[in-house]
Amino acid sequence: MRNTLNKMNHLQKYCLRIADNSWILGNRLGEYSSKGPFLEEDLAITNVGLDHVGLSEAVYKYVAELDGTKSADDYAFRRAEHEYFNIQLVEYPNEDFAYIMARQFLFDVYQFLFLEALVDSKDNTLAALAKKSLKEVTYHIRRSTQWMYRLGDGTEESHFKIQGALNELWMYKDEMFFMDETDEEMMKAGIGVDLNVLKTKWEDKVTEVLTKATLTVPENPLFSLQYGKNGHHTDFMGYILLDLQYLNSKYPDAKW
């Protein structure tokens, strides 16, 4: 698969980034199933995870169509680690509920703004998918925003925990807005989104919510990570892929 991926065009890579973000995050959320703080929340998290898996499937199907030789499952399950183009934030482990919600909030704001802009894409498939997912993501962002308020302005302990998680995950945020050749090309073609515009909106929204939640917006990271979207991942990625790909790599000839 390596050779074909090298030849992949910008549109395919652009789509895979969208799909991989949701695919890896969806799996992370699935991993938390049966471990939630109370039943309703446990189910809500799985529900959000399911939305992400659904979005990733739709986008993988589109990439498979563009490519014509591979299936959506090939993309989801049969790539090497460096061929996944999700940002590093979504692969961050479920350390505790504070990390899960901080990761979710930072990503939800990004994804909401991203999809909102993608609705106007000249690529009809992407525009339609964006429109459909935006409904789901509107619910996601409402939920994770609520949790910022509850945890930030809840107890001393919850305030401390959510602030700590935000501080820790802050270094992963810049990657969301980093534009490389693929992003530039897609933007010029009227297909992709201008991430610079997104960045400002994202910062405004995040600052607004965190302030209302009595939390502090963390200092700008001294080291910023812009690797995931080009296939460079954290130490955590290999393990989740090992799980995801377990049956497909162990029994390559089997159908399930």
């Binding site: 703080p37 309703e40 446990d42 919850s158 049956l247």
Partner: protein, 310 residues
């Protein structure tokens, strides 16, 4: 002493098929039986999420992953309906969960078995949900209104689970030799525990008589088990697997005769000594304990918001 006239009136209502509602008078023993049975049922739905969540990250296709996620969500949802229905008996969900953690309240023993392969996801859906359906279809007519209504909602979803589980098994049974072997082994693993889900023989079941009289239970354990066996054996044969019981035999009346269950194992697992009893309970307690600060935060925030309104 509960007065005989009230008891007679209560019995007459049940005999006339009138549902008992939360505000109606009911004998203490009726209430206690429902508290025990409905909380056990609710806990089973929730504990049952664990063996399946165990395979969520490893589900082998996009479709399989979505189906499994949705199924686990359904089961948790069943837990919610049932906790709500059980709360109408005057016991809070917190109390039920505390009883679970203290070992005073049980859940279905079938979830005290491990799920080592993907075929177990098939076997659980097909056999465990399949057995649950037989039981729950019968419970749709149970005499306590909130319980009966919860069963009606739940049964609709369970039949999907059963079909999806069977589909996994069917796919694996016609797959590679390794897949077929996994499917057969999962069937072997879950066959007896599923038959045990219907409980002891009627003559051994201490509460059965009174529960039937009160319309809490409508069919006997053995009758329900037999319905399940008769429905399932042809399904086993259809996908080319072997029934894990050499003595299973079709009788002239169209029903199957099978070997007796290993009752020592049954009681042993019920007493808490099964392969996963301690693991399942520990998992549930840990999630609950880890979540304490989150629940406290939500409560504190909720209070602050209320004060702002006032």
């Amino acid at each position: 002493m509960e007065n005989q006239k009230r008891l007679d009136e209560f019995q007459a209502k049940i005999d006339a098929g009138i549902k008992i509602e939360p505000k109606d008078w009911m004998p203490d023993k009726y209430r206690q039986t429902l508290v025990r049975q409905m909380s056990q049922h609710a806990h089973s739905e929730v504990i049952g999420m664990q063996p399946e969540a165990n395979w969520l990250t490893r589900a082998p296709s996009l479709r399989a992953k979505k189906i499994l996620m949705a199924k686990i969500q359904d089961e948790g949802g069943h837990g919610l309906y049932l906790y709500c229905a059980a709360e109408t008996l005057g016991v809070s969900r917190d109390q039920y969960i505390q009883w679970l953690h203290e070992g005073k309240s049980k859940y279905a023993s079938v979830f005290n078995y491990p799920s080592p392969t993907w075929a177990d996801m098939g076997a659980i859906g097909w056999l465990v949900d399949g057995a649950a359906i037989v039981n729950q279809v019968s419970l749709q007519r149970t005499s306590y209104g909130p319980y009966a209504r919860a069963m009606v909602r739940i049964c609709k979803e369970e039949s999907f689970h059963q079909r999806q589980g069977y589909e996994i098994m069917a796919e694996m049974a016609k797959g590679t030799p390794e897949q077929k072997e996994m499917a057969q082994e999962a069937l072997n693993r879950w066959w007896w525990p599923s038959l045990m889900m219907f409980g002891p023989h009627d003559k051994e079941s201490s509460n059965s008589g009174q529960s039937m009289k009160w319309g809490i239970k409508l069919e006997s354990n053995d009758d329900l088990r037999q319905q399940f066996i008769d429905k399932t054996i042809p399904q086993v044969e259809l996908i080319g697997l072997e029934v894990p019981d050499k003595n299973a035999k079709l009788m002239p009346n169209g029903s199957y005769k099978t070997s007796d269950i290993d009752w020592d194992e049954f009681w042993n697992v019920i007493k808490g000594n099964g392969p996963c009893n301690s693991q399942r309970l520990k998992h549930h307690k840990k999630a609950h304990d880890d979540g304490a600060w989150v629940r406290a935060a939500a409560e504190a925030y909720g209070k602050k918001q209320m004060e702002l309104v006032d």
